[in-house]
Amino acid sequence: MMTAHEAVERFVNDGDTIYSGFNMISFALTNEIIRQGIKGLKAVAGSVTPNVTMMSIDGNVNRIETGYLSGTLRSKPFQEMMRDGRVKWNDYTNMTITLRLMAGGLGMPFICANSFLGTDYLLEETMNHSRSLEEDRKREDGSIAPPYAVIDSPFDGRKALLYPALKPDVAIVHCQRADEEGNVQVWGPQADTKWGLWSSKNVLVTAEEIVPRSVISTEPHFTIVPGFKVSAVIHEPWGSHPSGLNGYYRADREWAGLTGAGMTTWNGAREYLDEWVYGTKDHADYIAKYKDRFGEDLLDNLRVKDTMVPEQPARYGWR
């Protein structure tokens, strides 16, 4: 157990490749990365989300490898930086990024998928484009590795498309619950999460709830990575706010930091970051400030109240 401040200070370095996934987004850690002024991160995920947009404003993130820009193009600053090269990117797909993370997690050099066969992604001008994070693909001898490669399968001679493994330096995620050892439990659609965590060297987890080991071990099927894979576990209620967490709260759709003024214009982004990120000392302070400004009700309205409970919980036993 540690604080988000300690976790980012110890495990996130300038220039790192960072996994932050399509859902279960840790805005608590996102905000802390911005506060500490980490620079030049490369964000990788099946889909990147508005937390990556937020990290691009002050240059915390300047490179992206993803299959989808989820909500991020609503931001004019982000669009502008993609145009002028302040944010560079290379395109893959939801599946191929997830499979690349899987390959990284499994210790494999590459993985095979047919997603780009027959498309313009295989044109030489696309594959060799300098915009496509060429410098990240440099081999030891200085030559540039392709972003993916077609081979004839040695087994049946048919075309096979290979994608290189991805091994991020660090992963950030917000989960429903974890114990003090860092056993991470999640539920709901998991998108790219599991392989984002298995493939990353350091895994930083904020948890909505910290529970005893006995809660974990009586429902071990919810554990997505075991504690030994996790570098830091941090208790952060509302750690996904302004995005949502399945079973706990819905996304705060009108909130400036998600889709509103804090994202769409340079001025809005500046004001938002100054007030809500640099202007708060940690996520608890951010939530306290939110309650202070808008009252308890606004936050409470986001809470999921009508939750389903298991009709017949899973049973375990040994005799």
Binding site: G67, S70, D91, T98, L117, Q190, D192
Partner: protein, 271 residues
């Protein structure tokens, strides 16, 4: 509830026409945006036994209540109200789609071309994009592997191109034999449902023979052939059996408006 059946928008008709392509009993991967609404309409209306699956991991969503609106996103929390499985992208796009278990797909795209290739990434040229778009998501993964692709988008000249500005998702590529040459399995018959009409594709066997070109099959009520031809920039093939599609039924319209929940998908001004 009584509604005026003459008052519906072309966007509503597009959703309904898309839904009508979805078959009961079929396993379907449903893409981001309006496809979520179209497939939900099909599920509630005529295809209760379709498998409604999305790429973030929910497989076989059977809504726990007819009060639920259509999901807004592919990881909408409402998708866990009644899914058989809550997996991840390796389950959904890897095993379900790439493994060959998805029989059909409903996809949106920014552009479609003469041979049914889709574009989700940019307008303009790759070198100098006039506009960057969100990207493929699972679109390319799905186009490579799913046998029957139902695409949907408004009929607009910036979207219908002789050749897509950038082909992110393989349709029939450059015509007959294109898929086989690229290393892909046959696909089809594909459909594209728009705000004015429904297109099919001229191939009997998933892209091996036939011209593989887009073919106008059904016009919406009140839309003329000339109107469609004026928007499509190539010499459009027209089916010999060209028909008019039936207008929305009361049940379809009432359901659609309930599922859209005040404009989650069909926000005024968006279409």
């Amino acid at each position: 509830m009584s509604i005026n059946l003459d008052e519906y928008t072309r966007a509503e008709m597009m959703i309904i026409a898309t839904a009508r392509q979805v078959r009961d009993g079929e396993s379907t991967i449903v893409g981001m945006g309006p496809p979520l609404l179209s497939a939900a309409l099909a599920k509630y209306h005529h295809a209760p036994n379709m498998w409604y699956c999305t790429e973030s991991g929910p497989l076989d969503w059977i809504p726990t209540s007819r009060e639920l609106p259509a999901p807004i996103g592919i990881a909408d929390h409402s998708l866990t109200q009644g899914s058989a499985m809550s997996g991840d992208m390796v389950d959904a796009l890897g095993a379900f789609v790439n493994g060959g278990w998805a029989q059909s797909a409903v996809l949106q795209a920014a552009q479609i071309d003469r041979f049914g290739n889709l574009n989700t990434i940019l307008a303009g040229t790759f070198e100098h994009p006039a506009r960057r778009l969100p990207g493929t998501g699972g679109n390319a993964d799905i186009g490579a592997s799913v046998e029957r692709v139902i695409s949907t988008m408004p009929l607009e000249s910036r979207r219908f191109k002789e050749r897509a500005d950038f082909r992110t998702t393989a349709g029939y590529i450059d015509g007959p034999g294109g898929r086989a040459e690229a290393g892909l399995a046959p696909q089809g018959p594909n459909k594209c449902a728009t705000t004015m009409c429904v297109f099919g594709f001229d191939t009997e066997d998933g892209g091996t023979t036939g011209s593989c070109e887009m073919v106008l099959e059904q016009l919406f009520p009140g839309v003329s052939l000339e109107e469609v031809q004026a928007i499509v920039p190539w010499n459009l093939k027209v089916s010999q059996d060209l028909t008019y599609m039936d207008p929305p039924t009361e049940e379809e319209l009432v359901l659609l408006r309930h599922l859209d929940d005040g404009g989650n998908h069909l926000r005024p001004g968006r279409y």
